[in-house]
């Protein structure tokens, strides 16, 4: 026998949904203006340095060191934000080589190529710039798509 009316069932399911909704925590970190600005700045600085690859690697070793430090700071900031694992993984594809995944390490691949060749041809620089820019854009697009604090309330 069905003891519950449709109304009761519906009230129950809505109450359950309400409990789930009210107790649910966010799946992903909210938008962070500092992280967004940092990614944009790092993109511009990185592309500017790639442009210098018509010159010798050793000549720009100090600039490369400075950029790598800035990138490490950017990565550390995003790595330690809660619920930000996806952005962290995206930074890792861009910044670090990974023996278990040959796809990872877009930027180290570029620096190795530059170091080994000494200088790069314009077409090579253009290709590398395109790939690095696309990688930064994906990080920036995800950050930009996240919920702003005002939207959450």
């Amino acid at each position: 026998m069905n003891f519950k009316t449709n109304r009761q069932k519906r009230n129950g399911s809505i109450a359950l949904l309400a409990c789930v909704a009210l107790t649910a925590c966010s799946f992903i970190s909210p938008y962070d203006q500092a992280a967004y600005a940092q990614a944009v700045t790092l993109k511009v600085d990185t592309l500017a340095l790639i442009d210098k690859a018509t010159g010798s690697y050793t000549e720009h070793a100090a600039d490369i060191g400075k950029l790598n430090l800035a990138l490490a700071k950017g990565y550390e900031y995003d790595k330690n934000r809660s619920h930000n694992e996806i952005t962290r993984k995206m930074w890792e594809v861009l910044l670090f080589k990974n023996p278990s995944d040959p796809r990872d390490g877009i930027l180290p691949r570029f620096f190795e190529e530059w170091k080994t060749a000494g200088t790069l041809k314009p077409a090579e620089i253009a290709n590398d710039k395109q790939d690095v820019a696309n990688a930064f854009d994906k990080i920036i697009q995800l950050e930009s798509g996240k919920i702003r604090n005002a939207e959450a309330h």
């Binding site: 996806i86 691949r109 041809k121 077409a123 994906k138 798509g145 919920i147």
Partner: protein, 106 residues
């Protein structure tokens, strides 16, 4: 018991889900197709550059690995944006319930 408009709540939740998730699926489909088109174009251009000796073998090979890396990043980005949609839905449901509750006691 307060007079809560459960039918209205259900309808609003359904509308919210339809809008949020439909927009997400449409955008994901569009972006996915664009990404495939761009990757194919890049692959063809670079293969041509390599054949014409405009780029080194290292640059060509790195470019192929980069395309695969960008595909991985695109998948991660989609995964993140899907999570944003779920969060938006959860926030929307909370707002609908609060509004309904406030109306009922007003």
């Amino acid at each position: 018991m307060a007079n809560i408009d459960f039918t209205g709540i259900e309808r609003q939740m359904e509308d919210l889900a339809k809008t949020l998730f439909k927009d997400f699926v449409d955008q994901a489909r569009e972006d996915g197709l664009q990404f495939l088109k761009d990757s194919k174009q890049t692959f063809l251009e670079r293969t041509g550059q390599f054949e014409r000796h405009e780029i080194s073998e290292t640059n060509y090979k790195n470019g192929l690995l980069n395309l695969a890396a960008l595909a991985k990043m695109e998948r991660l980005k989609r995964e993140g944006l899907a999570q944003v949609s779920v969060d938006k839905f959860t926030n929307g449901v909370i707002n609908i319930l609060i509004d309904a509750g406030l109306k009922a006691i007003a």
